[in-house]
């Protein structure tokens, strides 16, 4: 009625209607489903009937997106660093300091294409590294695993390989006790919403805040289901140093634990179970191996130290009687263990120094309680809704248009269903993402690969540089998140200024801290300014059936809502323009526009069985009906508990990975849950940090590292931001900045928020919303302090994914960031020797009141 056209889009925080008028986005709202959309499912439990709200429930970071489109941080035209002359002085030492001048697309693509040619001629294959984040604006065509990989393969590049950042401890640890390598070591979730509602009596949230992170990319869909659990009287317990948003909303006993000491707490609970006969003996007997050795460790028969609740008290800060009360309730009640925000995995506790011990213990605890029996499973009602598991639509990890068979899940379905020209990167040289700066500065680095095809793949070390390839002399950076998300990212400053780096290209949407370390900046547009197509929450690949976090499975046409702002272009068009100058444009596009590719994706899926292309575009989305009640998937792991053939729809492990007959037992060598891991015993037998028997090894940056702890007596957690999806919604002059739990505006500057207990604040003379310098040997970051008892004493928590980095010279302290990139302070050490897992989620710091020095700010 007001002259707006209502289009649709999809985001990391859910699908939305986009109201557009005169080439301007007026508003973006959640989608209310209408009567013509498929019916919702119903679950009956304990005499009650539950049906979800007929709306796609979105995250705050989605609700704030319009303001990031119209942001004064948008890059509106190509730019060149003023003192970068591709044919003369390049001045790498000034990266991040000198300013930029506007150039034309013609000039920009000339410089980039010529530099690619020069690199190949002068240095040879491998000298160009491509660096990108773990996430992207939602879509299948414009995704980094799609268009970007296709581009990269066509030019050849040294791969900056990601570590399994979301999974860490599960991949390097838990997997070795039960398999599931294709899920990167986390459990699956089929049928668990229904099982939990029908059977469970208690949910233990352990490092789990689904109201903040809601599993992954699934809006706030799980929230209503957790309210159902409360309605049914299911008890909640929260183990977290912070009374997190989930604990705040639903209540339940809060058990604050010192960061990284969780394994000790878990072990003590298991000790009580043994001592008081509160574990499932039949299950342990029939479905596991190695329990006797584990039991001997728990009881202290191995080392003379019984691992009692009293044993853990000083370490964890949790009183012994609380541990006993929890252990008893857990032993007696049918309990769901919500490990991580997803419930079946993740969790900040898997990303710190003891992360793999923690994840391993989560599996061992469930093994003692009969994992897979009714009401005994992993989860927090976040995953496992009864949706249609046989409807195919690609998830982003299937590689979109990349044609990349090895580094995406393209080979599983996408390639056969949407035949497209294969692409391949002939450069085998790789650099671990966390080690990129060291690789450039020191000229060498090594790491371990993230590869879910087997439990063994991770044991092979690789080296950079690799014989036959050139060391890196050019970085093509896509996005600008490193300072906010990479451990000890202070190293990145030195990297960017290193004289071996002859050229840095940054292709970004917003001019954020890291973009300003580039020589050439190419302005990309947002997903609202180009076409795409996608299934809500469908990542594909390693999170098979991630859509099971939703209440309604929804495939969405992502309209080009407005023209790209300024001279920005879609990434696809930027890649095409560069490749045209290398004679590879047609190979890249196959003659297709992005809209053409969307249609090819549509046709490759099962969606045409439900709706025509025309109707789909007109309505903008389609809801896939849930599975009929009699065809719902059984509860996850029930088949294993009952020693039957696997009966849930996950095509894993790979056929060769079953040690016994395919479909029976687990991927482990014994086919059972192993209290003492065979794959560790075989492949990494003498690693004191990863013993086959999961002994407690205190954190290498915690309360027991006395020398460091004396200097830096506060444990800082850097968890996933509740209000932004990683760096995607933060900064950028977005409306999220006005959320007091995200940033606080003081004297006109928006500071990052650091949470602190009143006891610690008093000890430092700090008041609520004082500016503070958070520091350790790695650097200094200025934040605004939020003082409340929601934080346990001795611990601090802030969000990890800051988009801003605003470095300046403080005459008193040297380089200081006031943007809020706390990852400047986190440890880069791999969490466990012989792995490439990050251990950065907890570090030691000190905090003091801070105010501006009298001098004017000088950019550092």
């Amino acid at each position: 009625p007001d002259g707006c056209t209502r289009l649709t889009t999809n985001t990391n925080g859910g699908p939305m209607f986009v109201y557009v008028k005169d080439n301007k986005i007026v508003r973006m709202t959640p989608i209310d489903f209408d009567d013509s959309d498929a019916e919702s499912w119903t679950i009956k439990a304990r005499g009650k009937t539950f049906t979800p709200l007929r709306q796609g429930v979105i995250n705050p970071h989605a609700q704030g997106l319009k303001s990031t489109v119209y942001s004064d941080k948008r890059i509106l035209y190509p730019m060149k660093r003023v003192d970068f002359d591709p044919n003369g002085e390049r001045n790498p030492q000034n990266r991040g300091k000198s300013g930029y001048e506007r150039i034309s697309w013609e000039e920009a693509t000339d410089i980039v294409a010529n530099e690619i040619k020069r690199q190949r001629k002068v240095h040879g294959p491998g000298s160009i590294a491509m660096a990108f984040g773990s996430h992207h604006q939602w879509g299948n065509v414009g995704y980094y695993l799609s268009a970007l990989l296709r581009f990269g393969n066509l030019i050849g590049f040294t791969r900056v390989v990601p570590n399994p950042d979301s999974w860490e401890g599960w991949y390097w640890g838990a997997m070795h006790h039960f398999g599931n390598s294709m899920r990167v070591g986390i459990p699956g979730h089929y049928g668990l919403v229904e099982d939990c509602l029908k059977e469970a009596e208690m949910i233990v949230f352990w490092s789990s805040d689904p109201e903040s992170t809601n599993g992954y990319a699934s809006g706030l869909e799980g929230t209503q289901r957790r309210f159902w659990a409360k309605e049914l009287g299911i008890d909640f317990v929260h183990i977290d140093p912070n009374l997190n948003a989930t604990a705040q909303l639903y209540g339940g006993r809060w058990i604050p634990v010192k960061p990284g000491t969780d394994p000790a707490l878990a072990i003590a609970i298991m000790n009580v179970w043994v001592n008081e006969d509160l574990y499932d003996k039949d299950y342990v007997e029939g479905r596991t191996t190695g329990f006797d050795e584990w039991k001997a460790y728990l009881l202290g028969e191995e080392d003379g130290v019984p691992k009692t609740p009293e044993w853990q008290e000083k370490e964890t800060g949790v009183q012994a009687h609380v541990v006993r009360a929890l252990a008893r309730a857990w032993g007696k009640k049918k309990t769901y263990l919500a490990a991580g925000g997803l419930g079946t995995g993740f969790g900040g506790a898997c990303r710190n120094a003891t992360g793999s011990q923690w994840a391993r213990n989560m599996i061992l605890m469930m093994a003692m309680q009969g994992w897979g029996k009714p009401g005994v499973n992993f989860g927090n009602l976040q995953a496992g809704t009864p949706l249609d598991h046989y409807f195919y639509f690609p998830g982003y990890a299937e590689g979109g248009i990349s044609g990349e068979l090895n580094f995406t899940a393209c080979a599983v379905n996408n390639y056969q269903r949407m035949p497209h020209v294969l692409t391949m990167n002939p450069v085998k040289q790789m650099i671990p993402r966390q080690r990129l700066a060291d690789a450039i500065v020191n000229g060498k680095a090594s790491g371990y690969i993230w590869d879910g095809s087997s439990a063994e793949a991770q044991f092979a070390e690789f080296q950079y540089p690799m014989p036959g390839y050139s060391p890196v002399h050019m970085i093509y950076r896509y996005g600008s998140s490193s300072f906010g998300t990479i451990a000890n990212s202070d190293r990145w400053v030195d990297m960017y200024r290193h004289d071996s780096l002859e050229c840095v290209v940054n292709q970004s949407i917003w001019l954020e801290g890291e973009a300003e370390f580039a020589d050439i900046i190419l302005p990309a547009c947002t997903s609202f300014e180009r076409y795409d197509i996608s299934d809500w929450g469908n990542s594909g690949g390693y999170i098979h059936h991630n859509t099971d976090q939703l209440n309604h499975r929804t495939v969405v046409f992502q309209h080009k809502c407005i023209e790209p702002l300024g001279e920005s272009k879609s990434d696809y068009d930027i890649f095409t323009a560069v490749l045209n100058k290398l004679g590879l444009g047609a190979m890249f596009t196959e003659g297709c526009s992005e809209l053409d590719w969307c249609k090819r994706v549509f046709e490759s899926s099962d969606l045409p069985n439900y709706v025509s292309w025309k109707k789909f575009i007109k309505k903008g989305y389609h809801v896939i009906p849930p599975a009929p009640e009699n065809l719902r998937t059984p509860a996850y792991f029930r088949w294993f508990a009952e020693d039957r053939f696997k009966d849930v729809p996950e095509p894993m492990p790979l056929p060769s990975q079953w040690s016994d007959i395919a479909g029976k037992g687990l991927q482990t060598p014994s086919g059972k849950i192993e209290f003492v891991s065979t794959t560790i015993q075989r492949n990494d037998p003498n690693n004191p940090e990863r013993p086959a028997l999961n002994r407690y090894v205190p954190s290498w940056e915690g309360t027991q590292t006395t020398e460091l702890y004396d200097k830096y007596p506060l444990q800082l957690l850097t968890s996933h931001s509740r209000y932004t999806f990683h760096t995607y919604g933060d900064g950028k002059d977005s409306t999220l900045n006005d959320i007091p739990d995200h940033r606080v505006c003081i004297d006109g500057y928006y500071y990052w928020v650091l949470r602190m207990n009143p006891i610690d604040a008093r000890a430092r003379g700090l008041q609520h919303h004082d500016l503070v310098r958070v520091h350790n040997g790695r650097g200094s970051v200025v934040c605004a302090v939020d003082v409340s008892p929601l934080m346990a004493p001795g611990t601090l928590k802030s969000w990890e994914s800051c988009a801003e980095v605003d470095l300046f010279e403080d005459p008193r302290f040297g380089r200081v960031d006031r943007g809020g990139s706390l990852n400047l302070l986190t440890p880069e050490r791999p969490q466990v020797k012989n792995t490439e897992g990050m251990g950065s989620n907890s570090c030691l710091v000190e905090v003091e009141k801070w105010s501006y020095a009298n001098e004017e700010l000088v950019r550092a």
Binding site: R27, I58, Y70, Q248, H321, V322, S788
Partner: protein, 280 residues
């Protein structure tokens, strides 16, 4: 005549800020002639969330109250507005974006502090209940539509029906003492303006300390029992809804086999008494 009301459940609010962001999304960069001029992107929180943290130790809560213009029936802003602020038939209050220009004085007129001064446009502004959308047939304002828990509910009903609802669901308004007759109602507002007294009951179990489940706990004021409850498996109990600074209370705890205890303490704000040890 059916009129608009808002019902906000404090217990269901999780501080996700979808409501504040949806409101900004609607009004940042958009002006709706006759209803509202553009909202500044930053600083002007037409919809706002207040936090109240209660408790200590391991018994802590954070509760959140969404506040906005109450669309009062007896609104000082309407009276002072000289025609620039109108009360619509459907209950919604609108500050006219043309007529009210320059009226900074109106900001102080609102006792609920719900009027924001737009310096750039020289305009007093409030949350307009998204009247421009309701007039086009929308069923609810943006903040309610985007709310994941439906903690915010907009209802268009007769005033008599609303009164019945207030009675039945124990709804309250913000600062009734101002006498402005707000149309924004709250459920569970005690989570914002009362305190609790909690504790943990323990006993000596042959040399180790353990939690006492199912102990009977009685709260006494001036010798009279005012509430009773029982401990959970962590030995925890909680009495909610107490007034701050309300003086001395006694807690009596007893368990048929594990003993009893009594504690008297002065109460100023929410407390958690961590270590009530029963004696046989």
């Amino acid at each position: 005549m059916k009129k608009w009301n808002l019902i906000i459940d404090v217990a269901k609010c999780e501080n996700c800020h979808n409501c504040t962001l949806a409101t900004k999304d609607e009004h940042d960069g958009n002006s709706f002639p006759g209803y509202a001029a553009e909202q500044p992107r930053h600083g002007a929180d037409w919809v706002k969330i207040e936090r109240k943290v209660r408790g200590e130790g391991t018994m802590v809560e954070a509760n959140y109250q969404v506040t906005m213009c109450n669309h009062c029936d007896d609104a000082p802003c309407v009276k002072a507005g000289d025609g620039s602020v109108k009360k619509r038939d459907d209950g919604i209050v609108i500050i006219d974006p043309d007529k009210a220009r320059g009226r900074k004085d109106l900001v102080d007129v609102c006792p609920h502090k719900a009027i924001w001064w737009n310096e750039e446009l020289q305009l007093p502004q409030i949350w307009i209940f998204d009247a421009h959308l309701l007039d086009q047939g929308w069923k609810q304002p943006r903040c309610a539509q985007s709310c994941p828990t439906k903690a915010i509910e907009a209802v268009k009903i007769l005033d008599s029906e609303m009164s019945a609802l207030v009675e039945k669901e124990n709804l309250r308004v913000q600062n009734p003492e101002f006498g402005t007759k707000p149309r924004v109602y709250y459920k569970n507002l005690h989570l914002m303006d009362t305190e609790f007294l909690g504790g943990c009951v323990l006993y000596d179990n042959n040399g180790t300390t353990d939690c006492v489940e199912d102990a009977k706990v009685t709260l006494l004021k001036d010798g009279n029992s005012i509430a009773t409850t029982a401990t959970d498996f962590f030995g925890d109990f909680k009495f909610d809804g107490l007034a701050a600074d309300s003086g001395e209370y006694t807690i009596e705890v007893s368990h048929p086999t594990q003993g009893q205890a009594a504690i008297t303490a002065t109460f100023s704000q929410s407390r958690y008494i961590n270590d009530i040890l029963l004696q046989v």
